[in-house]
């Protein structure tokens, strides 16, 4: 084995470990009894083992409300996002003179230039009156230009003959899109849906800006408030003296858990999406 290959194994191995270790530490910490955690800090193996934190947070209502809010944002947001993105991407990929090019530029400009925080804040709170609505978290990020272009590059690969034959049979644009294009596009639909789902699941900035009603705090916002304020952890627990540090870690696990569980199944779609996006460039 050459030196470079050996170095590669070690380097990639170390990076891989570094990527995983924080997850393990937080998981182990969340299962370590509060007394040990607060005296010895993090350890690689939970001892003494304790599920008190999970029992505490899941017996309260806060976590369930937060899951509800996050799920709503993720599911509704992803559905809207995929619908809007697919429709636009299809029209761009049709290569119609002026229209497609114009829409491509129209979608590209927001990648370069943005109005920034203040106008968005005024728009959402004053003009649309969406303060304390979960749609205030969903709508500002419902179309990602990058994913539009990922989908365009997939749509361009659909053979024109199929579409032409449908046209000869008299199918309209809507019919072609829904009955021919979408069924052919399941792989790319999965890709962009997953990218959107992760974005919505992880979003906390818009929640921080627009949501002040703690009953509809999404998970990320609950977690954020716990960083700055430990008493928030007390609020999470059902009753009695709560293991505060342990709860913070358990809440972290509860927040990333669903993503980590879905990751093994979803990973190849993400890789595919990035590959589509990259070869487009």
């Amino acid at each position: 084995m050459e030196a470079f290959t050996a170095v590669s194994y070690i380097g990639a191995g170390l990076f891989g470990l570094a990527a995983i270790i924080p997850f393990w530490m937080v998981l182990a910490g969340s299962l370590t009894a509060e007394s040990a955690l607060s005296q010895r800090g993090y350890s690689f193996w939970p001892s003494p083992f304790s599920t008190a934190a999970y029992a505490a947070i899941f017996s309260g209502t806060r976590v369930w409300l937060a899951y509800g809010a996050t799920l709503f944002i993720t599911v509704v947001g992803t559905a809207l996002a995929v619908a809007a993105t697919s429709g636009l991407a299809w029209v761009i990929s049709r290569g119609l003179p002026r229209l497609s090019r114009g829409l491509a530029v129209f979608s590209y400009i927001p990648m370069l230039f943005s109005g920034g925080l203040v106008p968005l804040y005024i728009l959402v709170t004053q003009m649309l009156g969406l303060r304390n609505s979960l749609f205030a978290v969903i709508l500002p990020i419902v179309v990602a230009p990058f994913l539009v272009f990922v989908q365009v590059s997939f749509f361009r690969g659909i053979p024109g003959e199929i579409l032409d034959s449908a046209r000869v049979d008299g199918a309209g644009e809507l019919r072609i899109f829904f009955q021919i294009v979408l069924p052919l596009s399941k792989p790319v639909l999965a890709v962009i849906a997953l990218f959107y789902a992760v974005t919505f699941w992880n979003d906390w900035f818009h929640a921080l800006l627009f949501i002040s009603d703690s009953n509809i705090y999404p998970l990320q916002l609950v977690l954020h408030n716990m960083i700055s304020n430990l008493s928030m952890a007390q609020d999470l627990a059902g009753a009695g003296a709560a293991p505060l540090y342990q709860i913070r870690l358990a809440m972290t696990v509860a927040t990333i858990g669903p993503i980590l569980l879905a990751y093994p199944f979803a990973q190849r779609y993400f890789v595919k999406g990035l590959t589509l996006g990259a070869t487009k460039g």
């Binding site: 924080p22 937080v26 993090y42 119609l96 114009g102 925080l117 804040y121 005024i122 728009l123 070869t279």
Partner: protein
């Protein structure tokens, strides 16, 4: 929202030009009763399907992307909530004056540029290096496993990253952390990280590399896969070592991909990574001297003082400079490679 959708849908046909190709395809077909003729091209009823498909996204961009751009007029106003965007009195350039003379500007602009330059070079560099290394690994299972592992951090929210970082730098309840344990093991004194602004640019860079190194390596690996095998066969015949092939064949062929990613990054260089920096630093003022960037400053100014005018002025300044930077980067890139323009 449905109301707005309808409005714009009705308004769009005037804006969208009819499709010449659609008309050429079926010149003999007569449009339905409602169709009109313009520049020799006719709208068929079927084509309205395209408008319907694109409408939701068009509405989104108009309202949430172009709307706020227009909303930047607030930068020239003495904005107050009651009068709104349309009723607030004009303030000329006083909002800009306030920011540029506040004495904070130099530090914040410098932080933004320095941090983003660090992030961009470090993450892209790590991505290339990691891709080259992953490419050396022969066992399919090991390679796939490692690729999955390095890609995971990309899916974690800034908040969770901030909690991970605390585990390393502060420990439980701020009583040490793993990094300090390691320092102590080498007989070095502990560092109170969250009160020391000096090392933070590097800490944040390491966090960014952790977060995005794997993501970029996936993109670069895809580019490596598309390199034809013959190139390497030729290399082998000429007696090149693996290291030489990585350095002299793979790396140069990754340049176009790297250029596109760099360009996108340069375009964003004036925008701080608000999510990550705010999640990690928050309102910890001790660290502001090295970590406060335009975005975090704007957010605090808005939140603490409710000063819409000044913050919008900063936002406008940021957008304009950012836009100029992208245009320069695009120009530079167009000059050097015709192939890989982004659009």
């Amino acid at each position: 929202m449905t109301g707005t959708t309808e409005d714009t849908r009705a308004a769009t046909p005037g804006k969208l030009k009819p499709t010449a190709r659609a008309a050429r395809r079926t010149p003999q077909e007569r449009g339905p009763v409602g169709s009109r003729r313009r520049r020799g091209v006719q709208w068929r009823r079927k084509d309205y399907g395209l408008v319907i498909l694109a409408a939701p996204a068009i509405v989104f961009f108009l309202v949430f992307a172009y709307g706020p751009m227009a909303g930047l007029v607030v930068a020239f106003q003495d904005f107050n909530i009651n009068d709104g965007v349309f009723g607030s009195p004009w303030a000329g350039l006083s909002n800009f004056e306030f920011f540029f003379t506040s004495g904070q500007m130099n530090r914040i602009l410098l932080n933004t540029l320095v941090l983003n330059a660090l992030f961009l070079t470090a993450t892209l560099g790590a991505g290339v290096l990691l891709a080259l290394m992953l490419n050396e690994i022969r066992g399919t299972l090991l390679r796939r496993g490692l690729q999955s592992a390095v890609f995971i951090p990309y899916f974690v929210s800034p908040i969770v990253i901030s909690i991970f970082l605390q585990a390393f730098l502060a420990g439980v309840g701020g009583r040490g952390g793993i990094v300090n344990d390691a320092l102590n093991a080498f007989a070095l004194p502990s560092v109170s990280w969250y009160t020391e602004p000096g090392p933070w640019p590097w800490i944040l860079t390491i966090v960014k590399v952790w977060q995005l190194g794997g993501y970029f390596s996936v993109i670069f690996l895809a580019a490596i896969t598309s390199i034809p095998e013959e190139v390497y066969e030729a290399g082998t015949i000429d007696g090149a070592t693996r290291a030489q092939m990585a350095w002299r064949i793979t790396l140069p062929l990754l340049k176009p991909t790297g250029a596109v990613l760099l360009l996108l990054g340069v375009g964003r260089i004036f925008y701080g990574d608000f999510g990550l920096i705010y999640a990690i630093v928050g309102d910890n003022g001790i660290l502001f001297s090295t970590t406060d960037v335009i975005d975090t400053y704007v957010f605090r100014a808005l939140r603490t003082y409710g000063d819409f005018g000044t913050t919008a002025a900063i936002g406008l300044f940021q957008s304009v400079v950012g836009f100029v930077l992208v245009m320069i980067a695009l120009g530079v890139q167009r000059r050097y490679s015709k192939e890989s323009s982004v659009l």
